[in-house]
Amino acid sequence: MSEVVELEIPARPEFLSLARLLVTAAAAHDPLFPEDRLDDLRLSVSEACTNAIEAHTAAAVEEPADEGADSIRIRCLLDTERVAVEVTDHGGGFDPGALAAHPPVTDPARLDFERGLGIPLIRILTDEVEFRPSPQGTMVRMVLHAVSI
């Protein structure tokens, strides 16, 4: 049975480091999670939280956020051999299938793109990832095994 640790932070960049700190400390709890996988977990969670925070900023331009809705939730399900993290926002949602790929890194045009590396990084670093967008917001569920499979 998973141990559940849950964190809620304001949807603002200066709270990102708290999310990284907590998730890494929670996973380090289990001594089977080695340092390099903790790094992978730290970065994946940070990228998902960054997107969640940016979704709030984007949504707030169109309509002011509801009372109490301007926070994001990070839920960690800890097992001996794996950690699942669910990041939930109240932003506008998106279509993860519609994201364009970058030009190849050897193409000079690659340098025109400063953004768009977050989700590719999450896909590479996690063992499983699932995006559940809705008009009420998005839930990203990432699973990392202690030993990458």
């Binding site: 200066e14 990102l16 480091s17 390099d36 730290r42 960054t50 890194v105 690659r110 400063e114 590396l117």
Partner: protein, 113 residues
């Protein structure tokens, strides 16, 4: 709030920017500003020393890509110093080690050209 350490120095005609701490969407704007300032001053040969960086995310990568594009416009170069496997890995898995000149020390970076 996390502090991002940014220190400038000069070495053999290169501007060296030493970065320390965590580079994420909260701190990356300060890195971007500093790099833009260098270019505005006419410094087109830049070494960014990442040895004291503890965390770097996609926003940080984006800022470095943007700066590389900017200096290349002026026929300049932006080289990185990075040996920590935690940070190096982020460049490797995104393929960006093929885009940036990567070095093991500021000395090596400056001597390489």
């Amino acid at each position: 709030m996390i502090d991002l350490g940014l220190e400038r120095s000069d070495r053999d005609g290169w501007a060296v920017l030493s970065v320390a701490g965590e580079v994420d969407v909260a701190t990356a704007p300060r890195l971007r500003e500093q790099l833009i300032e260098l270019v505005n001053e006419g410094q087109y040969r830049i070494v960014v020393d990442l040895e004291a960086v503890e965390f770097l995310d996609s926003t940080g990568l984006g800022v470095l890509v943007g700066a590389l594009k900017r200096v290349r416009t002026y026929d300049g170069e932006l080289a990185l110093v990075c040996t920590e496997s935690r940070i190096l890995k982020v460049f490797e898995i995104t393929g960006l080690t093929k885009v940036f000149p990567m070095h093991r020390s500021v000395d090596e970076a400056v001597a390489a050209v």
